[in-house]
């Protein structure tokens, strides 16, 4: 615990930044270097806070990409799993974050560019189906309107989690926390193994995430059918081999990138 201004947990809690940072982390916020004061606070208090949060059944994670977040591993602290639109939009934004063309604007992109990128990678039809899962027969215009609406809502929720900054009506800034969406494909091993490892750590769950929640916190129900209650968060478990086999060919033809752990 060298080079820290905090000697005890009491010093950390007494810091005026603690309440805001604590609340933000508990609400799923990813804190990176752009939150300069918060980030410095977390770096300084990391050792003490890791032990502190472990008592709440969660881990304070600090990947080498330079951001912090709180990962619940028990049931003492509430957690949720990102919805399908959030996952799709998050991955599209991560692709843009990795794209060198985005460097020119310092990580600032237009919303329309993000949506068009998502549509280009997934294909417009697949995107429309993914964003309108309960509708069997959809009017094209209505379905596209739904896609735009859910895209905007996903962006808003990703911004609340610290993955992006919404600068104005049209622009947004990409943040390092987005690299979490690329975790399954970052390791040297196969994506299936990476998924298994991430599921075991409680970083993600297989299957679709939570049901979409509207601004009032109510479960959205596009089809008029009664929405099923969200399943309780699963405990970390080992994936059955038949599930893992589905991912066997995932990214096989590509050489995997190097991770910090691999380098060390």
């Amino acid at each position: 615990m060298a080079d820290t201004r905090y000697l005890t947990l009491g010093d950390v809690v007494a810091d005026e930044l603690f309440p805001d940072v604590d609340l933000a982390l508990r609400r799923g916020r990813h804190v990176d270097r752009e939150d300069s004061l918060w980030y410095t606070f977390l770096v300084d208090a990391q050792a003490l806070l890791e032990a502190f949060y472990r008592r709440f059944g969660c881990e304070l994670i600090h990947p080498t990409d330079g951001y912090f977040y709180l990962l619940p591993t028990g049931d003492k602290l509430g957690r949720r799993h990102l919805s399908v639109p959030e996952m799709l939009v998050g991955q599209a934004l991560t692709l843009l974050y990795l794209d060198p063309a985005t460097l020119q604007s310092g990580g600032v992109i237009k919303r329309a560019d993000a949506l068009s990128h998502l549509a280009a990678v997934m294909g417009s039809d697949a995107l429309t189906r993914a964003f309108n899962p309960k509708r069997k027969r959809v009017d094209e215009r209505v379905a596209q309107e739904t896609v735009r609406g859910k895209f905007a809502e996903a962006l808003r929720r990703l911004a609340a989690l610290g993955f992006v900054d919404l600068l104005d009506a049209d622009a947004l800034r990409l943040r390092p926390g987005l690299l979490r969406f690329a975790e399954p494909v970052r390791g040297r091993g196969s994506p299936a193994e990476a998924l298994e490892r991430l599921v075991a750590r409680g970083e993600l769950v297989l299957g679709e995430g939570e049901l979409e929640v509207d601004e009032d916190g109510e479960l959205a129900d596009d089809s008029g059918e009664q929405a099923e209650p969200a399943a309780p968060a699963p405990e970390p478990f080992e994936l059955p081999s038949e599930v893992l086999s589905e991912f066997d060919d995932f990214g096989d033809d590509l050489s995997p990138p190097v991770t910090p752990e691999d380098e060390t």
């Binding site: 799993h81 020119q104 970052r186 995997p256």
Partner: protein
Amino acid sequence: MTEPAKDPQIMLAALARSHPVLELGTLDLCFLAALHLQAEGAALSAFSEDELSDVFEQACAIVEPRADNLKRRATHAIQRLRDQKLLARVDGAGVLRAGEFALTRLSASIVESYLADESLTRENLTQLTRSLRLSLAEILSRASQARDSDDWRNAVEAPLRVSVSDLVSGIERRQRSLDLEQQAFQATIAKLLESDWFGAVDQCLELLESTSRTLTELNEILLRDAHELSSSLQDIQEITVNAQAEGAEAAVERVMEQVDRIRAWGAARQRAWSEYYQYVHRYLCDVVRLDPSRALIQRLREQLSQHTSRPFALSVAAAASPRLLREIEPFKDDKPKVSRPRAERERPPNESDAIDQHAIVEELVQGALSRGSLGLCDVTQQVSAETPPELRFVTAGRVAQVVARLARTTLDRDRPWVSVNEDLVIEEWKLAKGGAHG
């Protein structure tokens, strides 16, 4: 003479009234640039028509080598440029001889902005600020010796408006060029990574470092020198205020604003660059170095395209917000309620003795007749005397009715109209003596 304050709205309205339009193609711009370069190279102040055509042909040979009808095209191009006030005839000879033409200030500015390669450097910024400091010191000295309005105008106002202002504008112009350079530089980094990925890291870092160094140096010079310039300008301003030299004071204020602007530019660019620098640094370390084969983007693209068939979802903490119960306070309504005073809509009747106006009139008429009145006018006068003014008109009618009933009238062919009082005129009836009906 003090320059009147310029109202932007008035100036814009005047500009809009003149319907200015600029339409310049590549050939026109190159033609103007060729004229500008030729004028500079050969120290020419104006071009004859033949010279203009020759320069146009030279420009055309480079821009559109296969073009024909060059003479005609030159004529059209010259006319186009003259219509847009980019080329002006300067000989004033009209039809007497072929004209001479020169570039206008507008065209010179356009060409310079394309050709000028004078971005802000440590050397030229130091040189410019040194010249500025010297000029301001000289103006300060002259200002302290100025006695009359001519002194203020020639020794202070004019140098501030022309030489000092031009020097500061020179810095601003170079700042804008540096902005453009930075934009191009950011595009260069993106292209380098796009083309060489891992191999471009060192080159990108070198570019980042050199630009950071340049910006830091420039900002330091700006901060230091702008402070000295502001100090000198404040000294001059103090003297102008004491001497009530309004024109000079306005000129000082204008230069002060320019100096503030160039200082603010330095701080803003430093801040923006710092953000960009950090972002690119992070990118190089977190993305490029950790993914030297650039496989991550492709793998992520594949993951995204297959997400609907193999979905997964990230877990995030989602503690509910603490529920803070507030103290319950009884609702206070300080506003006055909308109401009206309670009152009986129908008032109870007042008991009073009934007054029979007809009986009173009849009594008065009987009294008058018994006193021997011989005419209706006389009777009416007597009754009116006992009646309130507002009832006299009505009473006059009742009097006539009662008289007709109680007395006999003598018939006259003409019944004269006589005045009872100031407000009332009636037809006179003569009454027979002892003529009461009984």
